[in-house]
Symmetry: C2
DNA sequence: ACCTGAACACCGTTCAAGT
DNA sequence: ACCTGAACACCGTTCAAGT
């Protein structure tokens, strides 16, 4: 199925709206940015936005997916140190902290966002778990019991979310990440 | 200055509005609860609410203060174990998780909420710091360096916020709290 | 001082109508 | 298929008017 000019132009228009929404959502927050603002920044009537996106949640999700894809380039930061890698991840999320706070706020109202959120956490849990296991092995330390690993992954996840949400200054981010890594070892917390 | 009948009735009316707001905010969330709903649940015209509370943020703050005061009775839970005490704290906050998510969502828009939030965290940081210091001493362990203690307090704070926000099931809360306590020791994370 | 009805400027969303 | 003007049912907040 070849992409004709119509297809390209459709994508272009959609991209313009996405651009506008992205810029406004990141800078001013999702709640503060009305659909009217998005539309007029994209140069269309406000109901036109609804032709391309089902509703505001769908628009948010599209912006989120796009920003995450953009970040995933820088994602594979191969700093040798795990703590440094975590600092980099917090840095990446700092850019989109207004988006994630909007997601958290609308979790109970929007099943669409709730599902996306669950999926996202499942993915990041796997990633974090592997990072931690690899780190321990490389340090010649004992691996963690599955239950303990799960708890540590939760702690790391909440730490990242907290640092991002509270816009922590870099040196605080660094200290927290270093302590997280330093505390890493089997404890046999029954 | 004696409290006359007028004073009492004023407080009664204010209390009724606060009751209604409390019930609705906790059950349905702050965003979903309109001022109209609060007013009609309290049996007044909606603009009457504005006679008692400056705006919706002020109403949220009043509800928050009251719920926190109510909780502070159960606050001094003297479970002997620190991990158990943390589990209890998470339980207390679980009740008002819709309130705190609303606070976090409106932090950038409302200076009033931002100031309250900063004050609250300053208080809870001091409390957590003391709890951790006392625990280490009671276990005959070395105290943490000030910088490391500060980082650990951040980690614990974010863990509590995360568990509350994500409505974690009790056994997950227990596992996370146990691991947090078990990991507690000086690490000299440079 | 306390409370109201009516209005204001918004909001997200929908719909009938145009091309 | 794509886009619009106009409307809908809300929202938080304000204001002039009543007691």
């Amino acid at each position: 199925m070849p992409r004709n000019r119509a297809d390209v132009e459709r994508d272009a228009k959609q991209e313009e709206i996405l651009d506008a929404a992205s810029r406004l959502f990141l800078a001013d927050g999702v709640e503060t940015t009305s659909m009217t603002k998005v539309a007029s920044a994209a140069g269309v009537a406000k109901n036109t936005v609804y032709w391309y996106f089902k509703d505001k949640d769908a628009l948010l999700l599209a912006v989120l997916g796009r920003e995450l894809r953009l970040a995933s380039g820088a994602w594979e930061v191969q700093a040798p140190d795990l703590a440094d890698r975590m600092v980099a991840v917090v840095g990446l999320f700092a850019r989109i902290d207004r988006l994630s706070s909007a997601v958290h706020a609308r979790l109970r109202t929007s099943p669409l966002l709730a599902e996306w959120h669950a999926r996202f956490h499942a993915g990041s849990d796997r990633w974090l778990g592997r990072e931690i296991e690899v780190h321990l092995r490389s340090q010649g330390q004992q691996p963690l019991a599955p239950e303990e690993l799960a708890a540590v992954v939760r702690i790391w996840t909440y730490a990242i979310e907290g640092l991002v949400a509270h816009e922590a200054p870099v040196d605080e981010v660094r200290r927290v990440c270093r302590v997280l890594v330093a505390q890493l070892r089997p404890t046999a917390a029954s």
